[in-house]
């Protein structure tokens, strides 16, 4: 071998950054240029491996990267400038953090010697982002860039995933200062070693409890999707014939059309899921965090249940609800070991008790299901729109939702049979997430049907991205459940403020069809339930264009069931006139 082959290439900081991304296997980065990152943008220009997607607002870049991560399991990458670029990214970073989504966000920073001087476009991004990142790293020496990039991906994607910010002062990327480039193939850190498997003794205890249960339920969350353990969850549930409920973040981890699936649980969970939880004698919680939107009042939470809690993050265990049998570990190997131990166990499922339990659950299932139909059928019901969407897309589309009533309807009425298909901001509830999220998915899965389910309020928080869709030909479908109101706010005002609609009415809505056309897309308006299915089918058949589908829905609709504040999981409003 020649001497030259051994010698590392000499690259500038900016070039090393982009080359590191390439060597990490990154195809797309999402961002917006500005002064502090111009050297980096020049390095992007001089290569073609890493493609940059220019959004119209930095928030959208973060949601695109985030949604790519939600669909693929790999960290998405964002590049923004210092100051306003970085602060515009904050909402997206917080969104990813709350849902444990892996993301690497590269923010420009002013020259090192200017830091602390209130320089032009200086903000303390390390300080600003600290509470909403898994970790953040400031570059002090350009030579460290490859290692820092590797570290950022490792931290973002391993253990409980989360966003990592790399803050790079401009002088770290000077084009004429070159350094030997080498991308490390692994990172070892003495202070960070995520757990690889669960404790076998704890798993044994859990299996014993599980097999002795008379009224069991499996409650699984986003951790099962992040941990790629959908198959193991499904196998375990089928083997035991136990009912399964999913959190908002966990939808799709267990097939939505499976007989054992009793729906989403929590604040807007199904009647049967919440009743089954409340009356259970054993809860197997997998990759779920007993969020307040799930438990309702923790003091009244599931009084008879023994709780087994599997989570990769020990801090999630016994945070809200004390776990009787905690298991710290990644869900996939833990569930595998559980399956093996069940196989070997002398105990067997109590089929008599389970039969009675299922009878009870079926009774609950009969009581509240698709009740909206009994209402006025002349009106366009949002629930019916989502059911029709599910039918028209064979339940196989990527559904990227915004936040509001439409989000809950999309969670309740679309049947997710696969993981990673339901993409929504659960923890932070970020309006404006839906459209950029759909774009991030469409870019990476060009042949997939990708639908942004939104409201006329949410869509306007990032509607400028219709231009990005045009530039990169991302033929997402925007299904706007247009009720003319900030519907979820209005619902709370109906229920708690005697229908005083303080600032929940969106006056002066644009003509969305004309607006879509102005951006160079197609628009369809649907006004009557009779034309719904045909028009939706027509819209979904257009695969080379964005179609903005503006559906005029009944503005009076509420999301039910809804948890009664301060109550147990069994305390629900079931309609405007009934409660449990």
């Amino acid at each position: 071998m020649t001497q030259a082959a051994h010698e590392p290439e000499m690259l500038s900081g900016g070039e090393m950054l982009i080359r590191s991304l390439k060597d990490q296997g990154v195809e797309f980065i999402y961002g917006y240029p500005g002064g502090a990152v111009l050297h980096i943008y020049d390095a992007i220009h001089n290569q073609s491996d890493v493609k940059h997607i220019l959004v119209r607002h930095e928030q959208a870049a973060t949601h695109m990267a985030d949604a790519y991560a939600r669909a693929s399991g790999k960290a998405g990458v964002v590049l923004v400038t210092s100051g306003p670029g970085a602060t515009n990214a904050i909402t997206g970073i917080a969104t990813a953090y709350m849902d444990s989504i892996p993301m690497v966000v590269i923010t420009g920073q002013v020259m090192s010697h200017l830091i602390g001087d209130d320089a032009f476009q200086e903000t303390d991004m390390m300080g600003l982002s600290r509470p909403i990142v898994k970790h953040n790293i400031s570059v002090r020496d350009p030579a460290d860039i490859p290692t820092i990039v590797k570290k950022a991906f490792y931290i973002a994607e391993s253990g409980r995933p989360g966003p990592v910010v790399i803050d790079i002062p401009k002088d770290m990327t000077m084009p004429n200062e070159k350094f030997p480039y080498e991308y490390p193939d692994r990172i070892k850190m003495r202070s960070y070693n995520p757990v690889k498997k669960g404790h076998s003794g704890q798993i044994r205890k859990a299996v014993n409890a599980l097999l002795q249960a008379k009224r069991p339920i499996i409650y699984s969350g986003g951790g099962v999707i992040l941990g790629k353990a959908s198959k193991e969850l499904t196998q375990l549930a089928h083997q035991l014939n136990y009912p399964v409920t999913n959190t908002l973040m966990g939808l799709g981890a267990f097939p939505g059309t499976d007989r054992q699936f009793i729906g989403m649980l929590g604040m807007h969970g199904s009647y049967e899921a919440n009743m089954t939880m409340h009356n259970a004698d054993l809860i197997l919680a997998i990759g779920a965090r007993f969020d307040d939107r799930v438990t309702n009042n923790p003091a009244k939470f599931c009084p008879d249940a023994t709780i087994i809690h599997i989570d990769i993050d020990p801090a999630s265990i016994s945070k809200i609800i004390q776990a009787d049998i905690p298991i710290v570990g990644p869900v996939k190997p833990v569930l595998k070991e559980m399956l093996e131990q069940i196989e070997q166990s002398k105990l067997k499922v109590d089929n008599d008790a389970l039969g009675l339990w299922w009878e009870q659950i079926e009774e609950w299932r009969q009581r509240h299901g698709g009740r909206y139909r009994s209402d006025d059928s002349e009106k366009m019901k949002p629930q019916h729109v989502i059911e029709t969407l599910c039918k028209v897309t064979n339940g196989d589309a990527y559904i990227c939702s915004d936040v509001g009533q439409h989000q809950m309807f999309a969670a309740q009425y679309y049947k997710y049979n696969k993981p990673n298909r339901w993409i929504n901001s659960g923890g932070l509830g970020t309006m404006g997430f839906g459209l950029p999220a759909a774009m991030g998915v469409q870019l990476n899965y060009p042949d997939a049907a990708v639908v942004c389910v939104t409201g006329e309020g949410s869509i306007q928080m990032n509607i400028q991205e219709l231009a990005t869709c045009k530039q990169y030909q991302l033929p997402v479908k925007v299904l706007c459940l247009n009720n003319g109101y900030l519907g979820m706010v209005r619902q709370w005002q109906d229920m708690n403020y005697e229908s005083r609609y303080s600032n929940s009415y969106v006056d002066s809505l644009p003509d969305f069809v004309a607006l879509a056309e102005a951006y160079g897309h197609a628009g369809i308006r649907i006004e009557s339930p009779d034309e719904l299915e045909a028009k939706l089918t027509e819209a979904m058949a257009i695969t080379d264009k964005v179609v903005f589908i503006d559906v005029q829905i009944d503005p009076d609709e509420h999301v039910y069931p809804m948890a009664v504040p301060g109550g147990s999981m069994a305390d629900m409003f079931l309609s405007k006139t009934e409660r449990t």
Binding site: M126, G127, R130, P131, K134, H135, N136, S138, I155, M189, R190, S191, Y192, D313, P314, A315, S318, K319, Q322
Partner: protein, 163 residues
Amino acid sequence: MRHIISVLMENEAGALARVVGLFAQRGYNIESLNVAPTDDQTLSRLTLVTKGEDRVVEQITKHLNKLIEVVKLVDLTEGSHIERELMMVKVRATGAQREEVKRTCDIFRGQIIDVTPTTYTIQVTGNEEKVNAFMDALSGATIMEVVRTGVSGLARGDKTLSL
């Protein structure tokens, strides 16, 4: 319950801010905190005293452990341990007070480390209880200034918090 949590962490800029930020964000209480490098220049040792229910303290240690730069930690109050704090007090020392303050200082095995015709500066070390007791004993005197390091500590016997 009072807990002394001792943390070994990477001696890196920003690591301390992460610890302090964690307590602020999650509404945990800090009674005292100190931090300094160790014999290994790449590590610093942080000791913090907090009060809270067991459940809260469990969350505190879990969240501290999650911080990427934290290498190891121990809740010293879970086992037998030694704790020390250093306090310096500047007191008015005139007339009859001058003798009285000196006597109190001797009883507590404090040292007078700075003297002027009208003041004494006294150094006292010990656990929190002793240092507090000394403050109480001085209640007759005019205290001009107090500075305390906060508690540091380690486990008794063979146990160590090290790599």
